[in-house]
Symmetry: C2
DNA sequence: ACCTGAACACCGTTCAAGT
DNA sequence: ACCTGAACACCGTTCAAGT
């Protein structure tokens, strides 16, 4: 209990000795993982890098997360939390609320592409994911869909948002050379393909949007919302 | 030149000696990689496993592919080829052709989930991808869209199909335990969440479609096609 | 020309040992 | 209780050496 003999002589043998001030915790590890992911060139998030960031031994993380998958699901839930924070409270127009939730999810994924790239197909099964699912289903119910249709439309709409967002994030997470080569395919390769073999590509090549054009997700999102509105009108006679 | 002294005494020191009959080639390596991917539990496609499958040294692959990324893009193009083979010739109803191309792409991805899971965001920039892009753009032009709208709609529709297919493939490619845990979240965790905190989830939990329900992609696809038809009617007065 | 062997710099994970 | 050190079984990739 007496915190006295913390003599700070610089004779420390071990080059990294944060002192007892800095115990690890799930929160600190998650924060460090995000910091690592921001400057992670291609290779990404490793226990080694997180350990360095925390000035702790890589394997110390196993005290707080059972496996790396466990940690990655915690990071995914943090992405859901970030998206929820950026979204106004529920209760207004259901289409506008779905639009805002979708945009906030896409934005959070793009802010942390190294985390997001593996997240699209995963279920975090944690607090903030629960909250977001509840919000989306709430929108579907307010739209007038039956419980069955609301559940189906939740699944399809949310998986669409996650899939498209994870794909955009995957592109952003590629190492610079690989991304540049893929992008250049659309500004060079596809624009110089022989007209005889690929007449349709040739006809519109000058207008092909870039792979990372933010309007791509916006356009896809509006298409999904339009279709939902159309079937909501058909389904429910009672406004 | 004299292929005589191929004495087949079983004294061979080297345990793997296919003899000169079996030179490696891009085609043989791609075929072996697909075979490996089919029985790849979680860990996936490695040069070691492909080498074993070919009874050759893992590093021999570097004679035929510059990097692993180069090999993976060749595998992606093979997926595009498989999707094209399963699709009727172009020229009929543009909506039906888009539907068939999308279904064939999704099916090819699901047949090879370990290859597909990393493919959604990548550009193969190879023969069969060119051919598929030309088909989709052809549909958009036949629908009556301007070159600009055809190019945008190609990008959005195709990226939607690739993203959703890669996401479904990623789920299928998870190792058994991880996939089961994620799936169980929707049949157990989400169905037993407290009603007070998550009223909307509680209201529809019994009807939530499974993560891997094939109807999910079908529903999303029809929503996109509906929206395309609607904007094609608005855009082009000339049937 | 094509393949092999050995080496390099990494991974996630386990487990006995330290404090 | 929490962290460290060493070890294990892997990765992709490079490069000199074999045939």
């Amino acid at each position: 209990m007496t915190a006295s003999h913390a003599g700070r002589q610089p004779t420390a043998k071990s080059p990294r000795r944060p002192g007892p001030k800095a115990w690890l915790s799930q929160e600190r590890i998650v924060a460090a993982a995000f910091r690592v992911s921001e400057q992670a060139g291609a290779q990404g998030i490793t226990f080694q890098a997180i350990g360095d960031e925390l000035e702790a031994h890589p394997t110390a993380i196993y005290r707080h997360f059972r496996t790396k998958d466990d940690l990655m699901l915690a990071l995914l839930d943090a992405l859901h939390a970030e998206a929820l924070e950026a979204t106004p409270q529920p209760g207004g127009d259901w289409v506008q609320e779905l639009r805002e939730l979708a945009r906030a999810t896409h934005a959070a994924f793009m802010r942390h592409p190294h985390v997001a790239q593996f997240s699209g197909a995963r279920t975090a099964r944690r607090q903030h994911e629960f909250a977001k699912v509840d919000r989306v289903i709430g929108c579907m119910l307010r739209a007038g869909f039956s419980p069955e249709d609301a559940a189906r439309n939740y699944r399809v709409f949310s998986d669409f948002v996650l899939a498209y967002s994870a794909q955009d994030a995957s592109l952003a997470a590629l190492d610079t050379d690989t991304k540049n080569t893929d992008m250049r395919a659309w500004t060079v390769d596809y624009r110089t393909l022989p007209r005889e073999e690929y007449p349709n590509i040739h006809a519109v090549a000058h207008a092909l949007p870039a792979l990372d054009d933010p309007q791509n997700f916006e356009t896809a999102l509006e298409m999904m919302l339009e279709s939902l509105q159309s079937s909501a009108r058909t389904t429910s006679g009672t406004g």
